[in-house]
Symmetry: C2
Subunit: 232 residues, 2 copies
């Protein structure tokens, strides 16, 4: 071909491939263990193998893809152990976010959190688990971004990608009573943040993450439990 006429596109070809494949994995369109052929992805996104290779490399670093040299790339599913490890990290990072946010004083994220809790209350009242799942995501995201620490946000986002958090949360919220429980914990965290109790907010958030972890791991485990890396 060698046309490259359409120039670099909106934001480069490899970024398009990167976002596309990442979303496909997180949304479950590519299942764990499934091989990701470079030529197939190149054809699918209508680019050559080069940007596909670079995108796969980045996804490997993000933990979504496993590249076995000279063999190929595969969708990576974290093992059960890794999920526990990721939750341990999540606990620390979100606790850190709550503490830093409390220390910042009144910033616009607090209003957004207030509004989030209000809308969450409505969703819980209607038992709309799907909608609440989205609001949960927003709540945690606001806590972390509100900490005003870009490094924290970067590491946190990587973590969440690996956890395929969306699906996990949706699964955990099916347990009856969990919605109200979760909302109460959110409210408690926000109260402590507003009260500028940094350490209190940190530990409330950590407790919340742990209880959320329990709810998630005791619910169905859509992860399969086994890593894609078979070590036989």
């Amino acid at each position: 071909m060698q046309e490259a006429v359409g120039l670099i596109g909106p934001q480069g070809a490899q970024e398009r491939v990167l976002d596309g494949v990442r979303r496909a994995i997180i949304e479950g369109r590519h299942l764990p263990g499934q091989p990701l052929s470079e030529v197939a992805l190149a054809a699918e996104h209508d680019v050559s193998r080069t940007p596909v290779r670079e995108a796969l490399k980045q996804l490997q670093i993000e933990g979504l893809v496993e590249i076995r040299p000279r063999v190929g790339s595969f969708v990576r599913a974290p093992s059960r152990r890794e999920v526990v490890e990721l939750f341990e990290l999540k606990e620390m990072l979100e606790g850190m976010g709550a503490r830093l946010l409390a220390a910042r004083g009144p910033v616009h994220e607090l209003d957004a959190l207030e509004e989030n809790i209000e809308r969450s209350g409505e969703a819980v009242a209607r038992a709309d688990a799907q909608r609440y799942a989205g609001l949960v995501h927003e709540f945690h995201e606001l806590i972390v971004t509100g900490a005003n620490n870009t490094q924290l946000v970067t590491h946190y986002r990587t973590l969440m990608n690996q956890l395929a958090y969306q699906r996990l949360v949706s699964a955990s919220l099916t347990r009856p009573g969990r919605l109200g429980e979760s909302l109460a914990e959110h409210r408690h965290v926000l109260d402590l943040v507003r009260g500028k109790d940094g350490i209190g907010a940190e530990f409330a958030m950590r407790d919340h993450v742990r209880s959320s972890e329990r709810a998630t791991l005791t619910a169905g485990h859509p992860l399969g439990g086994r890593s894609s890396t078979k070590e036989s």
Copy 2:
């Protein structure tokens, strides 16, 4: 050329380039802001541009290199603000390591830590700051690896690369009295870990990181203070 006769090399060409450039940046052979030409690096490592590009991409994700699209790659120096952010993260991650290590009970890392403190005492007695710096690195590394959480280790290593920790620590330890102070803090942390006081160990470690941060940032700042991204 197109020879590729020597086959794939010991561990692939791009890995060689990756390690080489990373070490060069961390050890200060490539200075912040300096442009990293693909062709120059390719010639230096005797490979083509392709593996160099992939290595640079990974280094960008690790935070050591900034790639301005269509412009070039540059050695990235974290801004003062980013250094503070990185230390905040370091504090949380090492605190987490200490807590998890305490919960694990008697593992071989504890013996290694004991021995490390012993050797550290000798280094302090001889006022050998250089040797002590290496032992500090080992101590913190043992705390983190001893937590038995591979995700933690991964994120932590990335962090340390960005901080160019080696140089920073060496600089901070020039302040008189800091060596003994630091050693006492290490010993305190290890005592709490051995006593299985997880939360205590976590906060002792966090306190230690904060005091280490103060010592580092008040010492000379070899980082230049300004980011490589000039925003004028």
